[in-house]
């Protein structure tokens, strides 16, 4: 018999916090990202190569999560804003004050192109039974972030596995 509280189990599979990015996907983020890891792939630097291979410029797949990360401050928002609200909801609902992300997997679909306006939603996928690790006793949960472009096409899914716990 599952020990996951019914109100939390009811959230599994439900799309939450659907939002649209505050600005279009753009290249300076991508170039900064490539420069930081010395990624010289001409696909991201040479428009002729990008046009030949992918029908036009695309942004590095590894920049996907940039489009859902709010700045800590923006006009009209005085409080710190978090990127993965469902994760913080789980900590509060389960009364588990500490948490780590133990695994992050990204599946890429349609490429993100400069000018795309990316929307995203968070989906709680699972909650484990209580577990005890070196960190303490708590539960694992998995949250997916699903990204779509302005045409409704899926561009990627990020899957975060977290372990929320109370120090023993």
């Amino acid at each position: 018999v599952s020990t996951v509280p019914a109100d939390i189990a009811a959230r599994v599979g439900v799309r939450q916090y659907e939002e649209t990015a505050e600005f279009p996907a753009e290249r300076s983020y991508a170039w900064s990202s490539c420069a930081s890891v010395q990624n010289g792939n001409p696909l991201f630097w040479d428009d002729a190569v990008a046009s030949q291979l992918t029908g036009g410029p695309i942004l590095p797949p590894t920049t996907l999560s940039l489009w859902m990360r709010p700045h800590h401050w923006s006009p009209g928002h005085e409080e710190e804003r978090v990127a993965l609200q469902v994760h913080f909801d789980m900590k509060a609902l389960l009364d588990l004050p500490e948490a780590i992300i133990s695994e992050n997997t990204i599946v890429f679909h349609e490429p993100v192109r400069p000018g795309d306006v990316i929307s995203y939603a968070q989906v709680l996928r699972s909650v484990s039974e209580p577990k005890t690790t070196k960190l303490g006793t708590g539960r694992f949960w998995v949250v997916d972030v699903e990204y779509t472009n302005q045409h409704g096409a899926l561009v990627g899914v990020e899957s975060y596995t977290a372990f929320g716990y109370r120090r023993s």
Partner: protein, 128 residues
């Protein structure tokens, strides 16, 4: 995680390289302090008044040995210490290689180069 605490930072080593310290959990912080002879800071992990002193002590300690020596001594001892790899080291890392994280791709004008082995339309790659 924003640089406030010395227990979560990057420190230079004797060979000009770096290690990461991410000992957020008190027990792991205590393990690290004992392992490097800084027991006096065990109970001051979140004491704002002494973070600069702790950081200075850790800087001094880590600067005495090479990165890989520190990693060999500390990584397996629940201290949350790990090496900062250079880009060439990341690309050559056996763990990433085993997972097929990088691939060789060829372009007629740009030649053959390594890239993150995401499958992209039109690329000609060999996972390695």
């Amino acid at each position: 995680l924003t640089g406030r605490y010395a227990c979560y930072d990057v420190y230079g080593t004797a060979d000009g390289r770096w290690v990461t310290v991410a000992a957020i959990e008190p027990r792991f912080w205590a393990n690290l302090c004992r392992a490097v002879g800084l027991e006096r800071w065990i109970d001051h992990q979140h004491d704002d008044d002494v973070q600069a002193e702790i950081r200075a002590d850790l800087d001094a300690v880590f600067s005495t040995r090479r990165r890989d020596d520190w990693v060999a001594a500390l990584a397996g001892a629940d201290t949350c210490v790990a090496p900062v790899l250079t880009i060439p080291e990341v690309v050559a890392d056996e763990q990433y290689a085993a997972r097929g994280a990088f691939a060789d791709t060829h372009h007629e004008a740009h030649g053959t180069f390594r890239q993150v082995s995401t499958v992209l339309a039109g690329t000609v790659g060999v996972r390695s």
